[in-house]
């Protein structure tokens, strides 16, 4: 993976930048010792590492504004960082950059149940947002697998999803407003506790912009009342195609489950060994969850089971207790960890039209044989968001490159069947150079024009999202202007 070479002129000014930052931040909020900046050298895409020049941990919007103003004046690139759980390299630094971590900003600022929102600082973790409203039986819906650790800031940057977004939508559908610091240090407020934009939907383009348009320090999030109950049913099939057809039939029947998760043989085995959820030994496993009162759950599940029976499942089992449900979900949510025990892995998240599922799975199987690397599939079947996990050995020379090439082939396949490169992880550096497979130059130009408007000097997270050659002239302008 290529990253732009660090600007030696910036590196030479490290001390000057450091002393300016120390004027606006407490000493313990500025990290400059190379032994300590190393902690920020990568995110959850650990295959790529590079320590930043400096890292700062501001405590409030004013401090973020001061940091950005100084970096703007000094022409230093800034890489915003939530909790560093990006699987796409969204928080990977360059050697000439300042990491701006929001971890110290984790306060709940306001909870309002009558109007059903919470306002938080964005360093707060996803799960602790729900934690703050749980007592009143409310929750924050987007639930990425990393929800224990990941920050709202990163969720907004990547427009994160989760297993339950078939019903509740992803981050952008649950984000009502932001306070955002622009690269020049100015602060804008967009949206709030009311619905919809009064003008252009800037909130919509900020969400998912991968930290390239501004640093969101506070956010207003929609919270929902918890359903009375939820229960999953497990279905095992001997054929991926049949499982895919079953998903489509459930959706067509008018039932909207809160989640439909799919696992293939390799993942089923890995997760079962890890969580002992009682997963059946089969080719394709579906976890379908519905919500409501006991009677409503019974009613929906009986309809779903009736549909499943038409497809001759090898296993069909309703969860009998809250404990069993928890185990079933633990297995699914530990899929990455369980696969990680087998080997190093690369996780992709291309999305495909649900109808292409059998074809794509067959083709992934063929590619796996060609590359000689095993792949497990676990994904959100209701919305076509795949998660192929390619296993490789990072210590074996050439394996990473082979894995990257295999991954690129899978993602191109997703695009070719009418889908996209990434459904919830973001582009980051990982899929940056594949963007031109999905988008024509004019399409990319239109997106980059948005960045031109928000961050004219291209200092925020500049080497991400867009192919390096496409963004080069803009980044070059920055250097030349100094």
């Amino acid at each position: 993976m290529e990253m732009p070479r660090p600007n030696p002129e910036i590196l030479a000014r490290k001390q000057a930048v450091l002393s300016r930052l120390l004027q606006v931040l407490p000493a313990d909020a500025v990290i400059h010792d190379p032994a300590e900046t190393r902690a920020y050298e990568c995110d959850a895409l650990t295959a790529y590492r590079c320590p930043p020049m400096l890292a700062v941990l501001p405590s409030d919007t004013q401090e973020v504004s001061d940091v950005l103003r100084i970096c703007h004046e000094e022409g230093v690139p800034v890489v915003p960082r939530g909790s560093g759980t990006s699987l796409a390299g969204g928080a990977l630094p360059t050697a000439d950059s300042v990491i701006l971590g929001v971890a110290r900003m984790n306060e709940v600022l306001e909870t309002d149940y009558d109007n059903r929102f919470i306002r938080v600082q964005t360093g707060r973790t996803n799960l602790s947002v729900t934690g703050a409203v749980e007592e009143e039986d409310f929750f924050y819906a987007p639930d990425p697998s990393s929800q224990l650790a990941c920050a709202i800031a990163g969720n907004i940057a990547m427009n994160s999803g989760g297993a339950h977004c078939l019903k509740y939508g992803v981050t952008t559908n649950n984000l009502l407003g932001v306070k955002m610091v622009m690269m020049d240090g100015s602060v804008v407020e967009i949206g709030g506790a009311h619905l919809d934009a009064g003008g252009l939907d800037l909130l919509g383009v900020i969400c998912g912009s991968e930290g390239q348009l501004g640093v969101v320090t506070e956010s207003t999030l929609r919270i929902l009342r918890k359903p009375e109950g939820a229960r999953p049913v497990l279905m095992g099939f001997d054929d991926n195609e049949v499982a895919g057809q079953c998903v489509s039939d459930i959706i067509k029947s008018g039932i909207l489950p809160v989640a439909i998760e799919f696992m293939d043989t390799l993942c089923i085995k890995a997760c079962e060994n890890f969580a002992h959820a009682g997963y059946p030994d089969c080719h394709a496993l579906l976890i379908v969850e519905v919500e409501g009162s006991e009677a409503e759950i019974d009613d929906q599940l009986s309809k779903i089971i009736e549909i499943a029976k038409r497809h001759n499942p090898v296993e069909l089992r309703e969860s009998q207790s809250a404990e069993e449900s928890a185990k079933i979900w633990l297995g699914r949510k530990s899929a990455f960890g369980a696969m990680g025990q087998m080997n190093d892995y690369m996780c992709l998240d291309g999305t495909i039209p649900v109808s292409s599922l059998p074809e794509v799975l067959r083709r992934i199987g063929e590619l796996s044989a060609e590359y000689g690397l095993p792949v497990g599939n676990v994904f959100h079947a209701g919305d076509g968001n795949m998660h192929p996990l390619i296993l490789f050995d990072a210590n074996k020379p050439g394996d990473l490159e082979k894995c990257e090439a295999f991954g690129a082939d899978i993602l191109k396949l997703c695009v070719d069947v009418g889908g996209c490169l990434t459904g919830e992880h973001g582009v980051g550096i990982e899929k940056r150079d594949l963007m031109s497979h999905q988008y024509a130059p004019a399409d990319l130009e239109a997106q980059m024009a948005v960045k031109d408007v928000f961050d004219p000097k291209w200092l925020l997270n500049p080497a991400k999202v867009f192919p390096l050659d496409a963004s080069e002239s803009r980044r070059e302008v920055r250097v030349a202007a100094e």
């Binding site: 009558d114 109007n115 039986d137 427009n159 999803g161 977004c165 078939l166 939508g169 992803v170 559908n173 602060v187 407020e189 506790a193 009311h194 619905l195 919809d196 934009a197 009064g198 003008g199 252009l200 939907d201 800037l202 909130l203 919509g204 383009v205 998912g208 912009s209 009342r225 959706i251 029947s253 409501g292 009162s293 009677a295 009613d299 999305t351 039209p353 649900v354 109808s355 959100h380 919305d383 076509g384 009418g418 996209c420 990434t422 459904g423 919830e424 992880h425 973001g426 582009v427 899929k431 963007m435 999905q438 004019a442 399409d443 948005v450 960045k451 031109d452 928000f454 999202v465 867009f466």
Partner: protein
């Protein structure tokens, strides 16, 4: 100008020598230049997969055609787009492109989301005449910037939509509506908030002060609707008397289209606020007539022609849009809420990049 294909439209835009007003069916009352660029020639559903809950259509496709195709498969546009014809006294055929360009959503927005939340992908022609695509036809897509959201509700100021891709949802098997009889907007908001805070998935929460009814809709499978309606009644019993409203489909269609205002004189404003702010805002409005939707978060207000409602309101959290006005008022008052300087700079910057010659709907959005 009425192109028949996307390529033809792109060519026309590239060759524009004067600003144009972009029109789908011409039902939403967009003012502006004399010259008109119509998208109704780009019509037809290009893809519909009920099992994947996705539909792709050309921008000029009549909304009615889409609703009919969906109904045949027991599905619907869950965001329940409003028909503006009755309120604005316009004629013509509403198009899906118009719905998307104006981000039009109805009562179910409070539960299911707005038009923008169901928009999966767009194709549009920018101000230089280039065809641009963003998003796609899959439900989860974070590949690059979300220009899809930016185009929704941009009222043609950033580009001319040629194709939109939408998530659709099953049509509910049953629907029930209860009216809570209340004495004031404050009591109404209390009832609507209590219902929306419950786990019973209320899909419509409106208030019409003319008959003092706070209206609550529940949809889904029959047994579930019965159960949730009963639960709601016991939750709300202390707030006011509750009555069932049989066959509520037309009622909600009327609320969606602001029927109580039809044929009434005056300007019409649409104000978006935090729901519990509504009673105070309503008092400050001193309107001739109001109607509340979205649990109180959406206020429709009818006032005498020429009233500067924003001046009357003073500072408030939210935004006010002038939806219907006589020609003179439309000239003197901004249709959209003026933005703070920092936000306005972003809006203007985007517009200057997407439409550098300023040929699309000049003067419409700041």
């Amino acid at each position: 100008m009425k192109p028949e294909t996307e390529a033809e439209l792109a060519e026309m835009v590239a060759g524009l020598t004067e600003p144009v007003r972009i029109v789908g069916g011409g039902t939403r009352g967009v003012g502006g230049p004399e010259a008109v660029l119509e998208t109704a020639g780009l019509s037809g559903i290009t893809l519909y997969e009920p099992g994947a809950l996705t539909l792709v259509a050309q921008a000029g496709t009549p909304v009615a055609d889409i609703e009919a195709a969906l109904a045949a498969e027991g599905q619907q546009l869950a965001f329940e787009p409003m028909d503006h014809r009755g309120l604005l006294g316009t004629s013509g055929t509403p198009t899906i492109g118009g719905v998307v360009a104006a981000n039009i959503s109805g009562p179910r927005r409070i539960q299911a989301g707005a038009c923008r939340d169901f928009l999966l992908g767009v194709r549009y022609v920018d101000g230089m005449g280039q065809v641009i695509k963003n998003g796609g036809r899959v439900m989860k897509n974070v590949t690059g910037y979300d220009l899809v959201k930016l185009m929704a509700g941009s009222w043609g100021t950033l580009g001319v939509l040629t194709e939109v891709s939408l998530k659709v949802l099953p049509k509910p098997e049953a629907v029930a509506t209860n009216a809570v009889h209340v004495a004031s907007a404050g009591d109404a908001i209390q009832a609507l908030s209590a219902a929306l805070k419950s786990p019973f998935e209320v899909s419509g929460a409106a208030y019409d002060p003319q008959n003092g009814q706070a209206l609550l809709r529940v949809e889904g499978f029959s047994d579930s609707v019965t159960y949730r309606t009963e639960q709601l009644k016991s939750t709300l019993s202390l707030i006011g008397e509750i009555t069932d409203i049989p066959d509520p489909t037309e009622l909600w269609q009327g609320l969606r289209d602001v029927m109580p205002f039809h044929g009434q004189e005056g300007d019409v404003w649409r104000i978006s606020v935090k729901p519990t702010d509504a009673p105070d805002v309503v008092t400050r409005l001193e309107a001739d007539q109001i109607l509340l939707d979205w649990g109180g978060g959406l206020i429709w207000a009818r006032v005498p022609e020429g009233t500067d409602l924003r001046a009357r309101l003073g500072a408030f959290e939210g935004h006010a849009t002038l939806v219907r006005a006589d020609a003179k008022t439309a000239e003197t008052l901004d249709r959209f809420q003026p933005e703070p300087t920092g936000v306005q700079a972003l809006t203007r910057g985007l517009r200057a990049r997407f439409d550098p010659r300023g040929v699309f709907n000049p003067g419409l959005m700041g």
